[in-house]
């Protein structure tokens, strides 16, 4: 059976003063029904642009997006509408993505209006959605500024579920939430997935979350995937030095961990000046001469894992 979402060599290119910048630089991934895939990366790696491109909100310059076996129209025309209905987006800025002038009730009714879905009882529908995400009826008449961060997040999810989508793209669903309630949002996603067989694509920078929710994952750096595959495998045995660095950068409560930490030097280079060779070599503690010259081809590791590195972790001693 083909995957629910198949992305092949997708590129997003923006024109820029006499040139262009490739924000997403040829990525491929699958999301299957009832499963969760995660895209992990730091600011500016292109995660959000990728999510936007999948929804037709950013221009795709090359590559293909197939949704349920059918190529997704890549323009903002009405042709996209029937498919857009089955593909929902939960925005990163939860309160910012809710119109301040609409009550929660109206926010939840809007998707059906836009897609002209006949609704017998709009009120009942709004209450159904609220209870689906564990919110009380009393919230229906509130406005976004009267909601807490966690509540706004849930309303965003309820709206995303309004049209019973097959695929949900959740952009940083827990960013800015306190630890004591970020579990609520993730548990909710897992419950809805179990009940409806929803495919979920989570975009996040939080590896701890990925460990608990994702079946597959991809690590993004400067618009490319540097490592991707089964999330358990990657998290227990990262092969790309960037993945390893991200994993060890995660300050935990174990003081031992900081001693074996792989510390990166410098910051993410500008997309306007992609480094030659391996694009990670400017920050990589394992980089050698080859890395500054040749782009590492994709290597297939154990299982279905792939990574792009000349000197992957666990292969050669680090820098001589």
């Amino acid at each position: 059976m083909s995957a629910l979402l198949e992305v092949r060599d997708l590129r997003v290119r923006y024109p820029l003063r006499g040139g262009f910048v490739d924000v997403v630089h040829g990525v491929s991934l699958d999301v299957r029904r009832g499963e969760t895939a995660a895209i992990v990366g730091e600011s500016g790696s292109g995660k959000t642009t990728l999510a936007m491109a999948l929804c037709g909100l950013a221009p795709v310059s090359a590559g293909e997006v197939r949704f349920d076996g059918k190529a997704l129209a890549q323009d903002r025309s009405r042709r996209l509408m029937p498919d857009r209905k089955r593909l929902a987006l939960m925005f990163q800025d939860a309160s910012g993505s809710l119109s301040p002038r609409m009550s929660v009730r109206r926010i939840l009714a809007e998707p059906r209006h836009i897609h002209r879905v006949a609704t017998v009882d709009a009120d009942r529908e709004a209450l159904r959605l609220l209870s689906l995400v564990g919110l009380g009826e009393e919230l229906a008449d509130r406005y976004p500024h009267q909601l807490s961060g966690g509540q706004a997040r849930r309303v965003g999810l309820a709206r995303a579920l309004a049209l019973d989508p097959d695929l949900l793209i959740a952009d940083e669903p827990t960013a800015g939430l306190d630890v004591s309630i970020q579990g609520e949002v993730l548990n909710l996603l897992a419950r809805v997935q179990q009940e409806t067989g929803l495919g979920i694509l989570i975009i996040t920078h939080n590896l701890n979350i990925v460990r608990h929710v994702a079946d597959d994952m991809a690590i993004m750096y400067l618009g490319r995937f540097v490592e991707q595959g089964d999330s358990r495998q990657i998290l227990s045995d990262p092969r790309h030095p960037y993945t390893a660095a991200l994993l060890s950068a995660n300050p935990g409560l174990d003081p031992e961990a900081s001693r074996s930490r792989i510390e990166l030097i410098g910051e993410v280079p500008s997309l306007l000046h992609r480094p030659r060779g391996c694009e990670f070599h400017t920050r990589c503690p394992r980089a050698r001469e080859t890395c500054t010259e040749t782009f590492p081809e994709s290597t297939r590791g154990a299982g279905a894992r792939t990574f792009n590195c000349h000197f992957p972790m666990g292969c050669l001693p680090a820098k001589p």
Binding site: E42, S43, V179, A190, N206, R232, L246, A249, P251, E263
Partner: protein, 322 residues
């Protein structure tokens, strides 16, 4: 033991809101010994920001300090005149804020802003510029001379935070208050900034009050930690005591919820059910009682006091167990 740089005793701050009064901080006490890094952890609404504003006396106009004292090197900051307070800020007490983009002026060059910070000294223009360059180099900014001519928007987030730290440490303060300085940064940069703060603290010898909601960062950086909930200190002590052996149910639950601490993959993550109490109508008794899984009759009747030796907690449970 040397005398503390900062000692807060029973600080209570109240906001006037609409018809009611919101006691945002209630009897908060904490001590920062000289040369140490003390972390304040807590989630939204715990009073972290009010605490910082109270220390530097920059509270909102509708806030009132209802009681307590804030002793900084044997002077009660709450009794100082505005003039005296102003001469301390940026000189003996500095702050690094969460978002350097909002604490740096977008219309002035880095060099100009760093020179302005030195308005107190008698140094001339050249000397100030040299000092600025030196500070930038010290916080690990490459090509410091050129950066002085640039504007904040031309620097990356990590670089901007380094500039903010350089400016805060320029006057070699005795106390640096860092308000979630790594929250807006990516994980790999977060590590770099923590390292930098550790190094600078050693060099400059200042004490740091480090406010964060990130337990991992606190564990890595701080000598002691103060856990706050809904405007009260619920637990305090040496970092490894509090994080390895938490005594207050809130601290325990908070640690349980951190997905970094859950080794086994799980589809159902723990949460702390319920929400913060309404501060305008305090329920009485223990502030965490309504969300606590172990509460009993006494918790509703009597507010627990922060007690214990070096590892203190505000909870009736240890006594009940004894």
């Amino acid at each position: 033991m040397s005398s503390p740089v900062l000692e807060i005793r029973d600080l209570t701050v109240t906001y006037q809101a609409g018809h009611g009064r919101v006691p945002a901080l209630r009897d908060v006490s904490l001590v920062i010994p000289e040369g140490s890094i003390v972390g304040v952890v807590g989630e939204s609404g715990c009073g972290k920001s009010t605490l910082i504003s109270a220390i530097i006396r920059l509270l909102a106009p509708n806030a009132r300090i209802a009681g307590g004292e804030v002793r900084f090197k044997d002077r009660d900051l709450l009794l100082l005149s505005l003039e005296e307070m102003r001469s301390l800020r940026g000189d003996d007490i500095s702050v690094v804020f969460q978002d350097p983009m909002t604490s740096l002026s977008p219309v002035l060059t880095i060099g100009r802003q760093m020179a302005d910070v030195q308005h107190r000294g008698a140094a001339g223009r050249r000397a100030r510029q040299a000092r600025s360059r030196q500070m930038l180099e010290r916080v690990g900014i490459p090509d410091a001379e050129a950066q002085l001519r640039r504007y904040p928007h031309q620097l990356s987030g990590g670089m901007r935070q380094r500039v903010a730290i350089a400016m805060a440490l320029m006057a070699e303060p005795s106390l640096l208050i860092a308000d979630e300085p790594t929250t807006a940064l990516d994980a790999t940069l977060e590590v770099q900034i923590i390292r930098l703060l550790q190094e600078l603290q050693r060099d400059v010898g200042c004490s740091i009050l480090f406010v964060s909601h990130h337990l991992g960062v606190i564990a890595e950086l701080c000598d002691a930690v103060v856990v706050m909930y809904a405007g009260e200190v619920v637990e305090s002590g040496a970092t490894h005591d509090v994080l390895r052996n938490p005594r207050h149910p809130y601290t325990q639950r908070l640690l349980d919820c951190d997905p970094a601490r859950i080794a086994e993959r799980t589809r159902v993550l723990p949460v702390i059910a319920g929400s913060l109490p309404d501060l305008e109508n305090l329920p009485g008794g223990c502030i965490f009682r309504e969300r606590c899984l172990q509460s009993f009759a006494r918790c509703a009747a009597e507010r627990p006091v922060l007690s214990g030796g070096s590892h203190r907690t505000a909870c009736h449970l240890p006594e009940a167990a004894a």
